[in-house]
């Protein structure tokens, strides 16, 4: 074995180390002056010195900026120095750093074939006086995550042997009532009582006991994550019976709208809509919450990796063209001492998730164009990580394929390891203090380049028509992917043929492993040679692991031995429908009881600086939002390219003027008051953003992502039912069908006997087709002297608002949606934009009119004057602060050139609007109250500073 150390030359600044110095300071430790990072490589080989030196010199180190040492030239003492601490960290056995695979390949390129394995580590040289407690804190909070990493000690063995596996077929004895089989089932699986009864009845009929892999298959296939049993349950809600929540609300709206441009909805891995005559778009958003809670970097990275495979596995495969990410965390300034054991600090989760999403998404070459980040203390142990991907495919390939008996089952891409075993059940269950230690096999570090290779090659195989059907390997691994694909035919799988990362996996582990970067295709036998040759040409692995049959059975073999045999009928239709109770009661909170301040400037600055409202530029700039060259409206807009754009627009086909608008709506604060209006508001927000950038409601598709607490509690389920009802009602009026969705339930954490549930969180993601991207409008003010209009009525709707939150209040008056009126208003406004009458447009959301006008002003580098007495009200309001900060839905601020005044007003027709001010070159935002007195007089630079400073990390 060889050890190589690579470090920057001592006179060069260490950018990685400098980032750590900052992070250490954030922990309250001020004594660290410098950190330097040394890269360690262990090579499992016996190489002559010249070969080892060649590897160091021409591969591992860059002689211009780095020094290297290997084996005998490494003296263990050289890093020792006064006031220096040395910590070396490596991944745990079984956790693969993608770099290791690359080093193996690159070493072979050098003509050296006798390296058996590579392992990496990082050595941190920390300068400054530290006591042991502080060092432990730095290691525990920054350098080491015990889920995937450990500190290297002198006796650490980098290359541990994987245990050999000796085949033994395991059964659970569930038919013999007196036996221990049932207890074992309870220990290994968490089937509900009706599920277990169905299983026992089934196997009694068969006259035999189930094998372990059969129960695993049922457990995976019947998990909440895979089958969404809550949304399909029979629910008694406040006395009314709902048979299948999804079909009677969200999917019902889609069916009722029956849009011809909906090409594939709620049946494939993503929803598909038409883009133009020749092309289709598919869209999917998923969550990767629990893995991100315990290992933010790997969890979030594999979240991106997973959702990208959805469009790739939809129809006959689409090319990913855009990502969207929404995160919910506890506030970054949450006190360290209040963080429960086993939970990572929100700042670390935030930074890790951001890095994971960026590293994976950037490497795949998919622009991250849209997103949001929300903060609430109840996300402390249950952060939410929503990742979405938009794909582009030829229209004629938009339908799910159908394999035939005799077609081959081919798994392509990454190899299978022990990664993510029981990930779906982990995803569906409550986290506890013990989760961090129990869940270690559920997290892996993704390898984006393997996925990129898979995308590149599969799109070629698709265009050559080398497979008949495709799906992704996601939750439940092969068990779900193969089981679902073969549902209406039958299949035989030879598990020993699955390529493995390392030896020692049982047949059952192979079957349920959730290793990333794998796809499944059904290949006609006559195409297999061409397919294998194609995959080989780009060094992507593909393996035939079985054959589709026509016997409607799932049959699993290991080296010829039958280890599992389930009828497709039982596997897919044997799950008993759940019966659930739902109750919803309107909560009553304290009403705000304070006088409207005379000067609202301070309040405006405060709202702009809240975690929810403040600038997210620090995150956005670390995502590539330009790759693929299609960006039309970027996430940051305005004079200095740092204003908050409403929705992103891309041009998927570089030679066409047709575009896609991507937006989202989310506001968990309203869920507290009424989940119905929360859902309505989220839809309204997503649609407002589309209108604001110049789109229309003509062809807009929605996705729903519900993240909820434990819906086995009737009040929790009652809230969910209400939210889904709003999805139906509002989508129907707006004419915007849902095309796909996903849910993540049980987002709760048990701590010191108390259960902390996340706020009801519904993310609405929307895509809208834009006929001509040249009509796009950005939100920044453009020119002094222009008029500012507000479109839409303002109500006294401060419940759940950002303004009340700055006073630790929530109130009761949740913003509602008058969908029929809002639809007319949005339609008219969109006509005005199409006519070129709108110079800037911004929707009013968090922080209402006040935040919206401030953002427009500082993004444009211009001042503005606003008169609250002119704001059209839906009900009498006698307070300046309520008008300025009300979060009433369906409202826009619009900049119009004076010469277009008449035409603009005529186009808006008899919807509610008013001219409320002008753009100025004063550099000041001035707001005059109901009595004509000035209530805000702030410079735009100060407003911008308040908005930018919180997340200027």
């Amino acid at each position: 074995m060889h050890r190589v150390e690579v470090r920057l030359k001592s006179h060069l600044p260490d950018a990685r180390g400098a980032g750590l110095v900052k992070d250490i300071r954030d922990l309250g430790i001020e004594t660290v002056s410098d950190v330097r990072v040394v890269d360690i490589y262990w090579l499992d080989a016996e190489l002559p010195p010249d070969k080892l030196d060649l590897i160091c010199r021409s591969l591992l180190a860059d002689p211009v900026i780095q020094d290297y040492r290997s084996d005998s030239t490494i003296s263990t003492d050289t890093d020792k120095a006064a006031n220096r601490r040395v910590v070396e960290v490596t991944y745990n056995p079984g956790v693969m750093d993608p770099v290791e695979e690359t080093v193996m390949k690159a070493v072979r390129d050098l003509g050296i074939v006798d390296v058996r394995a590579v392992k990496t580590a990082k050595r941190y040289l920390i300068e400054g006086e530290l006591d042991n407690g502080q060092l432990d804190s730095i290691c525990g909070k920054l350098l080491v995550n015990p889920i995937v990493e450990h500190i290297v000690r002198s006796d650490t063995v980098p290359f541990s042997e994987h245990p050999r596996y000796h085949f033994r077929l395991n059964h659970y004895n569930i038919l013999d009532a007196g036996g221990s089989g049932l207890a074992a089932v309870h220990k290994d699986f968490s089937f509900s009582a009706p599920e277990l009864k169905a299983i026992i009845d089934h196997f009694r009929e068969q006259g035999r006991n189930p094998t372990d892999v059969e129960l695993e298959t049922l457990f995976q296939t019947w998990s909440e994550h895979c089958v969404h049993k809550t949304f399909k349950a029979r629910i008694t809600s406040n006395g009314v019976v709902i048979d299948n929540l999804l079909r009677s609300t969200i999917a019902k709206a889609t069916a009722e709208l029956n849009k011809p441009w909906c090409l594939s909805v709620f049946m494939d891995n993503a929803g598909v809509i038409a883009f133009d005559e020749k092309w289709a778009l598919c869209f999917k958003v998923e969550t990767h919450n629990h893995p991100s809670a315990v290992e933010p970097y790997g969890g979030a990275a594999t979240g991106i990796g997973g959702v990208v495979r959805d469009p790739l596995g939809t129809g006959l495969g689409s090319k990913p063209i855009c990502n969207t990410d929404v995160f919910c965390f506890a506030p970054p300034d949450y006190p360290h001492e209040k963080v429960p054991k086993g939970v990572l600090h929100p700042r670390r989760i935030f930074k890790g998730v951001r890095a994971g999403v960026a590293d994976y998404g950037n490497r795949l070459g998919i622009p991250t164009l849209n997103g949001a980040i929300l903060f609430d203390e109840r996300y402390l142990a249950n952060p939410l990580v929503f990742c979405g991907t938009l794909g582009l495919m030829p229209r004629e390939l938009s339908q799910r394929g159908q394999q035939r008996a005799g077609d081959l089952v081919v798994v392509v891409g990454g190899r299978t390891g022990r990664d993510g075993i029981h990930g779906v059940t982990f995803a569906s269950e409550q986290l506890t203090e013990k989760s961090s230690t129990l869940s270690f096999t559920s997290v892996q570090i993704g390898n984006p380049i393997v996925e990129k290779k898979v995308i590149d090659i599969l799109l070629q195989a698709r265009d050559r028509k080398l497979y008949r059907r495709i799906t992704d390997c996601g939750g439940g691994g092969l068990s779900s992917a193969v089981g679902e694909m073969a549902a209406d035919t039958g299949v035989r799988v030879d598990l020993e043929k699955v390529p493995l990362k390392y030896a020692g996996l049982t047949y059952s582990e192979i079957w349920v492993s959730e290793s990333q970067e794998r796809m499944l295709i059904a290949v006609p036998p006559e195409c297999i040679d061409e397919l294998m040759e194609l995959f080989d040409s780009e060094d992507v692995e593909a393996a035939v692991i079985g054959e589709f049959t026509d016997n409607h059975h799932l049959r699993l073999f290991y080296h010829g031995e039958l280890v599992g045999d389930l009828s497709m009928e039982f596997l897919h239709d044997g799950l008993p429908q759940m019966n659930m109770e739902a109750v919803w009661q309107q909560p009553l909170h304290t009403e705000p009881d304070f006088a409207s301040p005379d000067n609202l400037g301070g309040d405006l600055l405060k709202v702009l600086g809240t975690w929810n409202v403040c600038s997210k530029e620090w995150v956005i700039r670390q995502y590539d939002h330009e790759v693929q060259g299609g960006s039309v409206l970027k996430p940051l807009v305005g004079r200095d390219s740092d204003g908050p754009g409403d929705a992103a627009i891309i041009r998927p086909l570089l030679d066409s003027d047709r575009g896609v608008i991507v937006s989202n709506g989310i506001n968990p604060n309203y869920g507290e008051l009424d989940p119905y209006w929360m859902a309505a508001s989220a839809i309204d927000e997503a649609l407002r953003q589309i209108i604001a950038v110049g789109g229309s409601l003509e062809q807009v598709a929605l996705l729903d992502n519900f993240c909820w607490g434990d819906t086995r509690r009737p009040d929790m389920l009652g809230a969910l039912v209400r939210a889904t009802q709003a999805c139906h009602d509002v989508a129907l009026v707006y004419g915007t069908p849902f095309v796909s969705g996903k849910d993540s339930l049980n987002n709760e954490f048990e701590y010191e006997g108390r259960v902390i549930a996340i706020p009801h969180t519904l993310l609405i993601s929307a895509i809208g087709i834009m006929a001509d991207v040249n009509r796009a409008v950005s939100m920044d003010l453009k020119q002094a002297g222009d008029l500012i209009y507000i479109v839409g009525d303002t109500y006294s709707e401060l419940g759940g608002s950002a303004y009340l939150a700055t006073r630790d209040l929530i109130g009761n008056s949740v913003p509602r949606v008058d969908a029929p009126r809002a639809k007319t208003l949005m339609d008219n406004l969109s006509v005005a934009t199409r006519k070129g009458l709108v110079k800037a447009c911004h929707d009013c959301s968090d922080g209402g009119l006040g935040v919206a006008i401030a953002e427009m002003a500082f993004a444009g580098g211009l001042g503005a004057t606003i008169r609250l007495e002119h704001v059209p009200l839906g009900e009498p309001i006698d307070r300046n602060d309520f008008i300025l900060f009300s979060e009433s839905n369906s409202r826009f601020l619009v900049e119009v050139a004076p010469e277009n005044r008449e035409e603009f007003e005529k186009t808006l027709g008899n919807t509610r609007w008013a001219a409320v001010g002008e753009v100025s070159d004063s550099g000041m935002l001035e707001v005059y109250g109901l009595d004509g007195r000035r209530v805000v007089n702030e410079s735009i630079s100060e407003l911008k500073e308040a908005w930018q400073s919180p997340l200027r990390w």
Binding site: D109, I449, K453, Q628
Partner: protein, 253 residues
Amino acid sequence: MSKVRVLVLRAPGTNCDMETIFAFEQAGAEVSRLHINRFVRGNERLADYQIMVVPGGFTYGDDIAAGRVLANELRLGLGEDIKRFVADGKLILGICNGFQVLVKAGILSVDGGKIPLTLTDNDSGRFECRWVYLAADPESPCIFTRGVERMYLPVAHAEGKVVVAGEVPDRNIVLRYTDEQGNLGAGYPLNPNGSQADIAGMCDDTGRIFALMPHPERFIRGTQHPRWTRCEVGEQGDGLRIFQNAVAWAESL
């Protein structure tokens, strides 16, 4: 006259290939997008092309260091072919990851490699996606930037800092980061990575091998400009000139 043939060389992790093809097609070339394995395994010949491009991306994940693994592969697998390609008077362009690859493979070097040159981590320690102002040296022998004085282009990279052990002759510096008015020494974030002497793009002594960190292929038409909704931006983006110059030169070959 037959069209100029451009090779967009692809490797695992390449991800700016499609927009680079679009840019060259707009400039009137015929473009092939081919995987490096096809050349290493002898299915294709470099000699069939007049322009070779190593586009942006994260080849081999940028593992170990950005561009290193593909650089070795090119040097060891195609070194002789590339030498002949250059000797034949043809053009090589490296964008972003392609810059890192060309430098680390020694294909783009200063003073025959006597002045050591590399690219490394941005001073900010972060991946940076932002637009930058660039000034081109009018005296530069670079074919690609003929007639270009200033450009506004996006960067998106984590390892774009040019480090040179010594002085780089002016003739090898093609593009530098500036402020909006064209002044050097503008500092972060106008120089987004801390690059020595504000270097954003370099060429070899012949001016036929050119590489840059900013992405000219991402500014081909007006609507890619970050502020096109605010100001008069022409139909054509600044980046297109780079591709047009290359194609025009290759047409004379």
